[in-house]
Symmetry: C2
Subunit: 315 residues, 2 copies
């Protein structure tokens, strides 16, 4: 798989890169950085000692520590890969160690809140370029990562007003080196876009799986057996990390509630069409929605194979 | 792939099997019947002349015709594989051709309505054993089918009161021969179970994709680019056949509206938890829902690979 990333660079992009949080995203970055030679030295920092130990075993960083302030010392690029709600605390813990000229970034799924949490803690002379790679799986932890996770996926940068252009360009180069396509937008717009393309779909999936588990008229065993009709797709999304997703909803409250409101209006119309037997309205909607999938497939963000090309267990 | 189905039978299960509707499901049955030698003669019937011609080209049946009454003549097993809303018309069209002792079945995703539509047309001496294979993809038409579609999937039989036990057993044997696991329940219970495991998930997916397409604050191009965060899973479901799904909702109205009501209650609670920052409530739900996915994977209804083992285009 890694060969799709191309050969390692002759000269690293950064001298000393520190990653805080070695879960799915952090450990994927670590693997890609290693594979592509993007850092002369790669430091892995995680609050969880078990994760630090596992990172050492996996050999995906040059140094590994649980001490944030010590870990970021002398780094010229620091990336926070912790749940969105932990970014403020990490920024505070590391501020003493940051050297002037250092670029700080993150990978949080919400951007305005992360900026509000992190920026007040950063010393003068440190640039903050928030980022969000739109890529992931339902798994988490340092074993779940892989070097090609970001390949052919979008990464959104949301530099606050006043950010040094050169810093933004270096972060762009970093993500492009890992195979990502980069787009720049405001944090506010990011949070609105991701509310509909990611946050609300997750909320809906968690909700439907939760509702199904609580029914009295249909047993859990029936839900499980007959899930191949569509439901099981939702369970994949609803198996994602609870802490990460709790933080996303708490930190992107307004946009999520706004999009949920829109969805509720539309579902009320659909329910009405069903109640009154308005088949044409249903057929129209069901026809329109196919175009969006075709767009996603032709943009290379999805496989064209039926059923995601899913392989079956037990076959 | 077909070798998983095991070797062809020495003696066919039925003499003459007629399939009405050669789309995804009908053409998958045709391929499996052929491969496993479940019928001495297989007749393909479809109202669409283009489909009849394509079935001839594909060579997946012994005879192919657009004439329902002629096609079912002398068949000892007839399976309706047309959209749920078309079952009454097909039953009426074929009744003159049905021979005594014939077993009629179907594959409709809704059962009570199909029974109400079909039974009044069946001559005395003909047994009706409704079936629903809980298996499918988002594609349709005769080219979309494949012989292993039903392998390791559940098929639900809903024989109405008074159905001959022997007929039910023959239909069970037929589905088991194609690799399915068979369960018998009432049509009413089936319609409730499938409302939550299939129909409402489809409705929600169509709804969210429709809402996303209509937003003014987020462009369609942004929705497409940044869909990898969760949304694109919904677009797969929302790319399913519009006619089939229109019919499902029109014919399973009560159960769908009931389940939708439950979902709405739960989503209101979730929205409230987000509004008031009740992180524990969110975390609890997000933890509970993982158990259901584990159940589905250990029951062999889903792959354990991250991201459905999805292969990426353009990589
Ligand atoms: N997963 C995705 O699909 C995805 C996609 C794009 C962006 N993101 C974003 O990426 C970030 C990380 O997500 P992930 O999926 O990689 O999470 P993850 O697999 O759960 O890993 C997070 C890691 O951070 C550690 N950590 C938590 N709080 C910390 C703190 N205060 N100080 C130091 N380390 C801490 C965790 O330790 P413990 O083991 O003790 O928790 C864990 O090792 C989140 O902000 C998320 O929004 C995720
Ligand atoms: N797709 C799934 O995932 C799935 C799963 C389980 C059960 N089912 C059930 O299986 C049935 C068929 O679904 P499918 O996905 O196989 O549909 P499909 O691919 O759209 O095929 C349906 C076929 O029936 C033909 N047809 C429609 N009305 C007819 C009529 N009055 N007389 C004769 N032929 C007619 C259609 O012709 P045209 O080309 O002219 O429309 C088409 O060739 C539905 O009842 C559905 O609820 C579907």
């Amino acid at each position: 798989m890694p060969e799709r990333l191309g050969p390692p660079r002759e000269t690293p992009l950064f001298d000393r890169v520190a990653l805080v949080g070695l879960g799915l995203i952090g450990s994927s970055i670590a693997r890609a950085v290693r594979h592509l030679n993007l850092a002369r030295t790669l430091v892995a920092i995680d609050g969880n000692e078990a994760v630090v130990a596992r990172v050492r075993e996996l050999g995906i960083a040059d140094e590994a520590t649980a001490d944030v302030a010590a870990g970021v010392k002398d780094a010229d690029f620091v990336i926070l890969c912790v749940p969105v709600g932990a970014c403020g605390a990490v920024a505070e813990a590391m501020k003493a160690g940051l050297k002037p000229g250092c670029i700080v970034s993150d990978v949080g799924s919400v951007k305005a809140s992360v900026i509000a949490q992190v920026q007040p803690h950063l010393p003068k002379g440190v640039q903050f370029v928030p980022a969000h790679p739109v890529a992931g799986t339902e798994h988490s932890g340092p074993d779940a990562g892989f070097a090609t996770l970001f390949f052919n996926r979008w990464c959104i940068l949301t530099p606050p007003d006043g950010t040094d252009e050169a810093a933004t360009e270096r972060v762009r180069d970093f993500w492009q080196a890992m195979g990502s396509k980069v787009e720049v937008m405001t944090a506010q717009h990011h949070d609105l876009v991701l509310a509909i393309t990611s946050h609300v779909p997750h909320l809906i999936a968690y909700n439907i799986v939760g509702t199904a588990a609580d029914l009295e008229t249909v047993t859990q065993s029936e839900v499980i057996k007959f899930s191949a009709g569509g439901f099981r797709d939702f369970t994949r999304i609803a198996a994602s990390d609870p802490t990460m997703w709790r933080d996303v909803f708490l930190h992107n409250k307004e946009a999520v509630l706004e999009m949920l409101g829109r969805l509720n209006e539309d579902i009320a119309l659909l329910a009405r069409a069903i109640r009154w037997g308005e088949g044409d309205k249903l057929h129209d909607l069901f026809t329109r929605t196919r175009a969006i999938r075709r767009g996603i497939i032709s943009e290379g963000q999805e496989t064209a194979e039926p059923d995601f090309g899913r392989r079956r267990e037990g076959q």
